[in-house]
Symmetry: C2
């Protein structure tokens, strides 16, 4: 059965993105600080379909590959979509992507296997469609923070990874804000050490 | 040379304490959720000088012992002091404790080796006195969060432990709030896995 998960990098002070996000300034310009561990990995550049980049291929790269491989469909917020729309490579996701929006828009079918669907009747509707798309693989709540918070607080998340970068950002958008504290029992599942981040995987049991 | 450190438990959403803290409600009632890993350990109950409690003595207990043993003096905020004053065992700290306050108050000399000194001329003054007291051992910034933030933002911290409990608190006082993002280069030093928390030690190099 498909699992619903998210997988997000945060700073020591819990920020998922910086201030003043826009398509000209994705993630508020903090990606370099949060994603350093990815930038060194060949796997990262392969998945974003960019030539060059890092040449390393260690445990961090394996994690990137595994996360990509397990995912059968994606759900993301409109804001994250708009930030990426202008710059993402064609067929970046290689899967169906459900974008939460209040607008009506026809699906955007890309060459390859990526199609963006625009869902304006709520997160459960998006999840139902994403589950069909995933065909037994897992469903990744891609972001942003607000979308992840909605799924967490609806009791819909099965597990998540956080990657804690050894850096303070001071301000921005926190991944875990206004979280319903009584929704889950949480267990630490796995920890992977790395020089540039700390990977922790948690399993959630809905109360 | 003495190192200046803090060692704090936080929730997944970064909270160090809950709402409505008072001496009747230390830490806003969240200690049980953040400190479960300590409560199981014999070392914890030994250091707070309470009979009974947990009987385990594993790597978590060793960490408690080591943190206690390395500390030559403590610095804490007035609010944390007032929360604990009414309930702490006599001679809990077994060292000099410098309490940051705006008031004048004579030292409180306890039986054993704990003396509380009340410092009303700033954190550098407290640190200078705490360094003398420590006699080469390390100086622990005990808390609360605001006191730790003051030392961090003054560029005075050499290293810290966080212990991340697999729990959301939803609200309260965050350990890392309003942190100056440009003060340090930070390295992950050590990670200790545990069932009930994740211990991560960071080293800070002032920029």
């Amino acid at each position: 059965m498909s699992k619903i998960f998210f997988d997000s990098a945060i700073s020591l002070d819990g920020f998922f993105a910086g201030e003043n996000r826009s398509s000209d300034n994705p993630m508020g310009g903090v990606s370099g600080k949060l994603h350093q561990w990815m930038f060194k990995q060949k796997a990262f550049w392969k998945h974003i379909k960019v030539e060059g980049g890092g040449e390393e291929n260690d445990a961090d790269g394996k994690l990137i590959d595994e996360t990509f491989a397990r995912t059968g469909s994606y759900i993301m917020g409109k804001r994250m979509f708009e930030e990426g729309e202008v710059s993402w490579a064609e067929d970046l996701y290689e899967a169906d992507v459900y974008v939460l929006t209040h607008e009506k828009r026809d699906p955007w079918v890309q060459k390859g296997s990526t199609t963006f669907y625009f869902i304006n009747d709520g997160i459960e509707s998006a999840l139902e469609k994403a589950t069909q798309s995933a065909q037994g693989k897992d469903i990744r709540i891609q972001g942003g923070a607000n979308t992840i918070q909605q799924f967490l607080n609806a009791g819909l998340v099965d597990e998540f990874f956080i990657h804690i970068s050894p850096v303070f950002l001071g301000s921005g958008i926190r991944l875990f804000d206004n979280i319903d504290k009584d929704k889950y029992d949480i267990k630490i599942d796995q920890i992977f050490e790395s020089e540039l981040t700390t990977h922790i995987k948690y399993k959630l049991m809905k109360k």
